[in-house]
Amino acid sequence: MRKTAAVLATTLFIAGLFTSESVLGQVTDHREIKTPPLRSFSMPQPKRIQLDNGMVIFIQEDKELPLIRGSALIRGGGRDVPAAKAGLTGIYGQSWRTGGTKTRTGDELDQFLESRAAMVETGGGTDSTSVSLNVLKGDFDTVFPIWLDLLRNPAFRQDKIDLAKTQANTAISRRNDEPGSILNREANRLGYGPSSPYARQAEYATIASVTQQDLLDFHKRTVHPNNIILSFIGDFDAAQLEKRLRDTFSSWPRGPQVAKPDPGITQPKPGVYFVTKDDVTQANIAMVHGGTDRSNPDYPALQIMNEIFGGGFSGRLMQRLRSERGLTYGVGGGVGAPWDYPGLFRVQMATKSETAIESVEALKGEVARLVNDPVTAAELSLAKESILNAYVFTMDTRDKALGQRVQLEFYGFPADYFTKYPSLIQQVTADDVQRVAKQYVHPDQLAVLVVGKQSSFEKPLSSLGTVTPIDITIPAADAASTAGGSNPAGMALVRKVQEFAGGKAAIDAVTAVRQTASRNMVTPQGPMSADTVTLVQYPDSLRQEMTLPMGKVTTVLAPGASFVITPMGTQDLPGSQRDQAAGELKTEVVNVLKNVDNPKYTFTTAGTDGTAQILAVGAEGSTVRWVVDPATGRLLRTIRSGQAGETVTEYTEWKKFGNLNFPTAAQMTRAGEKAGDMRVTNVEVNPTIDANAFVKP
C-alpha cells in the first residue's frame, strides 16, 4: 500500500517538474501557509507524596527506555557556608561520592557501579546538594541500597578530600586563563559585592581550611527528611516504588530546617572598572546593577522586556550590535530574576579590542533607549508570540514536567504556577513594559566592567570616566584571608628588603629624599627625554620638576593641595590623577620600607617568579607587587596595575648613598611593551627644603 503511494507521489512530482509552479500550488510567501490549531495535550504530572517527617516525594513512570533515574535534592549549599570556607560545597559534592560509605570505599563503588554501567553521583551547588542514581532497570534493586547508604552514611575519607582539594586548587589556578570566565566572575562580584554569598569565590586558603569534620557537620546539618525532595522517573511500577520509598524513609525523624541566608548584597558604585588581560584580541564587557526575583508580580512584564531587549536573534541587542554593525558574535542581557534571591540586571558583549569604547557606548545607548523609548507594537507582538507559541516546549517531556514540579516545590511556588503563567504574559501591555523598564533599569547606576588589553583599545578607557582597576591576582596559599592582612612569610621578606636597602634604623632616620635623574619615556606623541628632580617629604608630599623639550613641568602632591605648573600656568590635578599619584606615593619604595610596622600596610607572599619571590604590598587600598630575590633581599622589580595596563619597573642597578641603598637605574615596560628608562645621577638624603616647596603659587 505504502509503496503504491510512494510511486504515485513520485509520478506527480515528476509531472510537476514540467508544469508551472502554480499547478503544484507552490508557496511564495510564508504568510500563505495555514497553521492548524495545536493538538491539545497534557503531559502526565508526577504523583506528589508528603511523609509525616516532611520529606516530599515525586514519582513519574516512563517506560520508553529500560532505565530508572532518581535524585535526592537537599536544601543547603554554597550560600550557607561561611566566607572563610568558600569552596566547601565543591569539596563536599565531590568527596561525598568519591569518599564512599562506611562499608565501601569510593574505589570499590567505582568498580561495582561502572561494571554495571550504573551511576550514583553527588553534587553541591549554591542553594542545594544532591545524590542521584541512574541505572538500567534490572540493576535497581542492587544499586538503590548503595544510593541510600551514600545518602545517609558517607565516610568522607581523607584521601578523597585531598583529591577534591587538588581539583579545586586546579580550578583556582586556571580561573584567569580565559577572558570570558574572568568577566563572569568579576561582574558577579561587582553586582553583589565580593562578600555576598552569591559572589564569594574559593581561594587556596579557604580550600585549605576545609576539614573532614566540616564536611561531616555540613551533612549532619542539612541531610534531614524535611530538607529533602526525592524524585524518581523511569521504567518501574509507581505503586511498588511508592511503597518502597515510604518503607525506607517514613521512620526517619525530622531535623533542623535549613533557612535561606541573608543575601548580604553591596550595591556596586557606578563607574568604570578594568581588569588587565594582555593575551587577548577582544575586550569583554559587562554592565551590572541590582535586579529582582521571581516572586515579583512584575516578572511577566520583565520577561517580555528581556525578550525584546536581549532575547535571541530577534532581540534589539543582537539586531543592532551583531547583525547591523558586525561588532560582536555574542551580546545579550536583561533583568535577572532567580527563584529565591535577588538577581542582577546585566548586559554583556565581547568585541575586538579596537572597538571596545565604541561598544561600551553602543551598549549604553541601547540601555538608555530601553528606558526612554516605548517598545513598538511590532516588538511587543513578536515577543509575546515567541514566548506563547514556544510554551509547549516547557513541558513536552515527562522529565521536564517532573523537573518543574521539583523546582516549584523547592522554591515554594504553587504547583500550577506554570499552567497559569501564559495568561499573565498575554496580559502584558506596551505601557507595562515601559513602566518596568523605568522601574528596574537604571543607566546611571551601572557598573561597567571591561576585561582586556587597554593599549589596543581605540581610545583610553578613561575617556569613559574615572577607571577603577581591579586586581585579579590570585592570592597565595599562605595569604592570611581574602580581605587582606600580612602573612609571616610576607613580613619576613619585606624585612629582608629593608635590610638590603640599609636597615631599619637608617630608613627610619630618613625624613626626605631629593633625587636627580634623566629619563627616556615612550609617549603617544613619540619618544621623549627629560631631566627630573624629585623631592619627597615622607610620608605624603611630593614635588617633581621635569625639564621637557617644551619647558619645565612641576607636579606637586601634598595633603593641602595638588597641582601642576607648566609654561601655560598652574592647574589643580584632576581627582583621578591625584588619587593615582597619591597611591603611587604610598607604595613608593622608601615609603613602603618606612611603614613596615604600620598595621595599615600589608605584606603577603604571592607566589614565585622563577627563583624570585613575589610580595603583594597593600597600603590602604593601593597595591603594588614586588619581585624580590629571597637570598639577598634585593628588590628586582615592581609591578603596578593601572589604567593603562600593567607597568613593570625593573631595577637594574642599586648604589649606596651614605648608609642607604637606592635604585639608580630602571627600565619600565607597560602591557609588555617598552615604556621608558631612568638613570639616577644624584641622591640627597634629608636635604634642606624650601618652605614653599609644596605650596601653590
Binding site: H30, L65, D110, S115, A117, D177, E178, L327, N389
Partner: protein, 501 residues
C-alpha cells in the same frame, strides 16, 4: 579469586544482554518506527514518529565541512553556515529585483577593490576610493533587506533551539517546532537551501572574525588547538582550524560562498531527519512538495589529498601566562576502517569513568592531572584522523610530568593484555550508553542524520555497538602497537611562564 570474579562478571554480562534482548530499544524495533526515503533530487529523508507532545525536531546535515576548504577560502564552510540564516529571494527582501541588482553591484565593487588592493604596488588613493565605493554599495543594498526575517519567522512561530554548527566533516542545522508548524518549517528549511541569498555578507564576515577572536585568539586552548592540528596534518585540510585564517577571513567574497554552496549544498550530499509528532501519511507529501524543489545537481568531487604516513615526530609549544595544557596525537584511519571499534574501546579504557586508566593513574594516584582523556575523531572522523591524549595539569606540575605518565599508560596497553573484566565493563557501558542516547526528539534527529551522513546508514548507530562487543584483548594490543609509535606522534603543549596570576 580472579576466576570467581571473572565468572561473576560474565554472569552480570549475560543478565544485561538478556535484559537488552527484551527491550524496545534494539535495531529491530527502531526499524519498525523509521521511514526512509530518497527524493527524486537525491535528498535522503529519515522520519521517526514519537507522539508524546505536539512537537517535532529536525536536523539537516550536509556532508561538507571545513575539510572541503583550500587556502584562500579557509573559513568559508563556517561562513556559509552563517549565511544560511539570512533568508532567500522570498524571505528577507523588501524588493528582490532591486536587491538582486544591488547585491551584484556589491560584488562588482568588491572585486575591483580586491584587485586594486592585491597589486604588488597598490595605489593607496585608488584603493581607498574603491573601498569607499564598495562600502557605499553595501549601504545601498542594506536598505533593501528585512533584517533577520528568517529567524524572526521561526521565533514567532514558537521555534526553539535554533542553531547550527560546522565541523571539519559536516555542517548541521537544527531546531524544534510545535507540530502544527510542520508545513511552515518545510517551507523555511527548503527555502534557505533552494536559493540562499548572501545579503549582509561582509558584515557577517566581521561577526565570524569576532568568533575567531573569541574561540581561537583569546583562548589558550583555542590557540593550542590551531597550532596542534596545523602541525599534525601537513597535507590534508584537517590541518586548518575550521574558523579560517585571518587573511582569508578578510578576503573571501559572497561569490566564493555561492560557488561553495553550488558545489556542496546539493540534495544528494544532504540528509534530513525529522523526529517527533509527525503523521507520515500527512508529512511525506509536504516533505516532497517543499524539499522536492531543491534542484538536482551532481555530487561534489571527493577530497583528493590523503595525509601521507607521518615519518617525523612533531611538536608545538606555546609559552603563555595561562596554566599548562598537554596534548599528544597519533594518526589513525578513518571511522570507516574495520579497526574503528577497537579504537573506541581503547578510548573507553583510557578515559571513561573513574575506573579508566588515565583517571586512576594521573588523577587519582599521582594527582598530576585534574583531568585526562584519550579520544578519537580529532578533528574529524570522515578522513584519517588522530587519536589524541589530553591532560590538564594540577598546580605545580608540568606538561613533561603528564607526558611521562601518559606514555607509561600507552606502554601498558601495548605490552599487557587487557583483563577480561575491564574489557567487559567497557562493553557494558557502551551498550547502556546507546540506550541512554535513544531519547529526546532533537537529540535523536541530530544523531540519526549524522550517522546516516557519516556512516551511510542510520543503522550503524546500533551496529557500531555490536562491533564493539566483538573487540578482543588481542585487537587492543595489535592496534595500540601499530598506532602509538614515536614517529607517528605530534605533541602540543602550553607551558606556563611565571607564577599563576
Amino acid at each position: 579469586m580472579t576466576a570467581v570474579r571473572t565468572r561473576l562478571s560474565m554472569l552480570v554480562a549475560l543478565t544485561l544482554f538478556a535484559a537488552l534482548g527484551v527491550t524496545a530499544q534494539d535495531l529491530a524495533s527502531f526499524e519498525k518506527r523509521m521511514q526512509v526515503r530518497t527524493l527524486g533530487n537525491g535528498l535522503t529523508v529519515l522520519m521517526l514518529e514519537r507522539r508524546d507532545a505536539p512537537v517535532f525536531s529536525y536536523a539537516t546535515v550536509v556532508n561538507a565541512g571545513s575539510a572541503q576548504e583550500v587556502p584562500g577560502i579557509t573559513g568559508l564552510a563556517h561562513m556559509f553556515e552563517h549565511m544560511a540564516f539570512k533568508g532567500s529571494d522570498q524571505i528577507g527582501s523588501k524588493d528582490w529585483a532591486a536587491e538582486e541588482r544591488a547585491l551584484r553591484k556589491v560584488e562588482e565593487q568588491y572585486r575591483a577593490y580586491e584587485s586594486a588592493r592585491g597589486m604588488t604596488r597598490p595605489d593607496e588613493a585608488k584603493v581607498e576610493q574603491l573601498r569607499k565605493a564598495w562600502q557605499d554599495s553595501i549601504a545601498e543594498a542594506d536598505k533593501l533587506m528585512e533584517n533577520d526575517e528568517f529567524s524572526e519567522i521561526v521565533d514567532r512561530a514558537g521555534g526553539v533551539g535554533m542553531n547550527a554548527f560546522t565541523s571539519s566533516d559536516v555542517t548541521a542545522y537544527f531546531f524544534s517546532m510545535p507540530s502544527n508548524r510542520f508545513e511552515l518549517w518545510a517551507y523555511l528549511e527548503s527555502e534557505r537551501f533552494r536559493k540562499p541569498v548572501f545579503r549582509q555578507f561582509y558584515k557577517e564576515r566581521d561577526v565570524v572574525f569576532e568568533e575567531r577572536r573569541m574561540r581561537t585568539e583569546s583562548s589558550p586552548f583555542g590557540r593550542l588547538f590551531e597550532q596542534f592540528v596545523g602541525a599534525a596534518f601537513i597535507a590534508h585540510p584537517y590541518g586548518f582550524a575550521g574558523v579560517g585564517w585571518p587573511s582569508d577571513l578578510h578576503a573571501f567574497s559572497a561569490s566564493d560562498a555561492e560557488e561553495f554552496a553550488k558545489k556542496y549544498y546539493v540534495p544528494s550530499n544532504m540528509v534530513l531527519s525529522i523526529v517527533g509528532d509527525v503523521n507520515p501519511t500527512e508529512a511525506w507529501p509536504i516533505v516532497e512538495k517543499y524539499f522536492g524543489r531543491l534542484p538536482k545537481a551532481p555530487a561534489p568531487p571527493a577530497l583528493r589529498t590523503v595525509e601521507p604516513p607521518q615519518i617525523a615526530e612533531r611538536s608545538v609549544t606555546l609559552r603563555e601566562t595561562a596554566q599548562p595544557i598537554y596534548m599528544e596525537g597519533y594518526h589513525r584511519p578513518a571511522a570507516s576502517h574495520p579497526d574503528n571499534a577497537t579504537y573506541d574501546v581503547i578510548s573507553m579504557l583510557m578515559s571513561s569513568g573513574r575506573t579508566s586508566r588515565l583517571y586512576k593513574t594521573l588523577v587519582r594516584d599521582q594527582k598530576i592531572a585534574a583531568g585526562a582523556a584519550g579520544f578519537n575523531g580529532f578533528p574529524g572522523e570522515k578522513y584519517p584522523n588522530l587519536f589524541t591524549f589530553y591532560a590538564i595539569t594540577t598546580p605545580g606540575h608540568t606538561p613533561d610530568d603528564v607526558q611521562k605518565s601518559i606514555r607509561a599508560e600507552i606502554e601498558r596497553i601495548k605490552t599487557e593484555d587487557i583483563p577480561a573484566e575491564e574489557l567487559q565493563s567497557v562493553k557494558t557501558r557502551v551498550k547502556a550508553g546507546l540506550i541512554r542516547q535513544l531519547t529526546g526528539n532533537s537529540n535523536l534527529a541530530l544523531q540519526l542524520a549524522m550517522t546516516q551522513t557519516l556512516a551511510g546508514d542510520w543503522r550503524e548507530l546500533f551496529r557500531d555497538v555490536e562491533r564493539i562487543d566483538k573487540v578482543t584483548a588481542a585487537d587492543v594490543k595489535r592496534v595500540a602497537n601499530v598506532t602509538f609509535t614515536e614517529s607517528n606522534r605530534t605533541v602540543g603543549k602550553i607551558e606556563s611562564k611565571g607564577a599563576a596570576k
